[in-house]
């Protein structure tokens, strides 16, 4: 028996991933190594924000308590956010960001591709739209991984170091989650653990071509889906939610 709270929770998980990643990527504007990348990362952030809006609006609707996308984005506290920890990690150097983008957009690609077939019409529609966008994001990260990995000695060193710092947070993306698992059984959601083989195959091919080694770092404890976050999350939320909380109901 599928209850609406389960759908609400699932839409929140995916919406929080997109929202928090969008917020982190927005920080790059004016800090990227070249103007073109300010534009690129800003555009990727915008796509993710669009996905987040659709998912959070739907979560609010399914919950049935009248909460809007803004209520969910700005008036929940840290423990109520169920995003993966990989998206909240503080901005590192550009190579580290590309490592994160490769890992995360690769995950989103596999997820949305399967979610298009969901029996839930809204989730299927969001996924069908988003999969085309994240395919482009993944390609962008792939191009940079190849360029930096197979570039100069210094760019190779930085790309490898970036992968090493991000990799402990990869495992969490594919952990079985009771919510996703239950909904997947009913054809509504995707069981995250099923995504790992396809993701690994793609990323391994990229790293091989980029002359980079697969990092053998142990997995971090994780817990983002249960509302447990890293130290960086609070700072991110403080910045993201500040204006809405100082001026409740403020509009453009």
């Amino acid at each position: 028996m599928i209850t609406r709270p389960a759908v609400t929770g699932y839409a929140l998980q995916l919406g929080d991933d997109a929202l928090i990643m969008a917020q982190r990527l927005g920080e790059w504007v004016s800090y990227a190594p070249e103007l073109e990348e300010d534009v690129a990362l800003g555009n990727i952030a915008l796509d993710l924000l669009g996905q987040a809006r659709a998912l959070l609006s739907y979560a609010g609707e399914a919950e049935g308590r009248g909460r809007t996308e803004d209520d969910l984005a700005y008036f929940r506290d840290e423990r109520e956010f169920t995003n993966l920890q990989i998206v909240e990690l503080a901005r590192g150097d550009f190579a580290e960001e590309m490592a994160r983008q490769l890992a995360f957009s690769g995950y989103q690609f596999e997820l949305y591709q399967r979610l298009q077939g969901s029996r839930d019409e809204t989730l299927a529609a969001v996924a069908a739209k988003a999969v085309k966008e994240v395919a482009y994001h993944r390609d962008h990260a792939t191009q940079w991984t190849l360029r930096l990995g197979d570039g100069t000695q210094e760019s190779h060193r930085r790309m490898q170091a970036g992968l090493t710092r991000i990799w402990p947070y990869v495992d969490e993306m594919f952990r079985q989650d009771p919510l996703g698992e239950a909904l997947a059984g009913d054809g509504l959601a995707v069981d995250a653990s099923e995504l790992r083989p396809a993701w690994t195959q793609y990323v391994a091919a990229v790293l091989r071509e980029a002359t980079l080694a697969w990092p053998e770092t142990p997995a971090a404890p994780g817990g983002g889906r249960q509302g447990r976050h890293t130290e960086q999350m609070g700072y991110l939320l403080a910045e993201m939610q500040y204006l809405a909380r100082c001026h409740p109901g403020a509009r453009w």
Binding site: E36, V39, A40, G42, N43, I44, L46, D47, L48, L49, G50, Q51, R53, A54, E121, T122, A124, A125, V126, A128, K129, A130, K132, E133, Y136, D139, H140, Q143
Partner: protein
């Protein structure tokens, strides 16, 4: 003076895109449906180009204003995500206008029906028509565009990405 139902459909289709004003929302293929309900309520369905397209709110307002101006003040604008928008919905007229405006129109996406081996066509310079162009940035001034430059006439230009 109230416009007739056919006229109001035509008028809504003529609403310009706020980011590329040479194109109408009908040219872009983001106008999905215009219906006149009982009691003269106009129900318009639009779909975003990209999930985060920031022009959607302005477009919805412009549609409501256009209808009101034509004597149909009761308007509902619905947003629909499915089926997902594709540049294949852009009209030939829209592609011609884009080119004249200095933006290279999107190439047709190669579906399975297009043949066993999809061949990516080069992007032609909208100014001199040369196929000898290069990509400067995969992302551009809006979510739907990439930045190119022409190797023949040396002008940079926007390319409307095929999606």
């Amino acid at each position: 003076m109230n416009a007739g139902p056919a006229d109001i459909r035509e008028a809504v289709g003529q609403v310009p895109d706020p980011e590329i004003p040479v194109l109408t929302i009908a040219d872009l293929g983001i106008l999905r449906d215009v219906r006149i309900g009982p009691g003269g309520c106009v129900e318009v369905t639009i779909t975003p180009t990209y999930s985060g397209c920031p022009a959607m709110d302005t477009i919805a307002e412009d549609i409501a204003e256009t209808c009101a101006r034509h004597g149909w003040p009761d308007v509902t604008v619905r947003r629909e995500l499915s089926p997902a928008w594709t540049t294949d919905w852009m009209t030939d007229e829209g592609k011609r206008k884009l080119r004249e405006f200095g933006i290279a129109p999107p190439a047709r996406r190669c579906g399975p029906a297009a043949g066993p081996v999809p061949v990516p066509l080069s992007v032609r310079c909208p100014r001199c028509g040369s196929p000898d162009t290069r990509e400067i940035n995969r992302f551009g001034s809006t979510a739907c565009k990439a930045l190119y430059a022409c190797n023949a006439c040396l002008e940079p230009f926007d390319y409307f990405k095929a999606l």
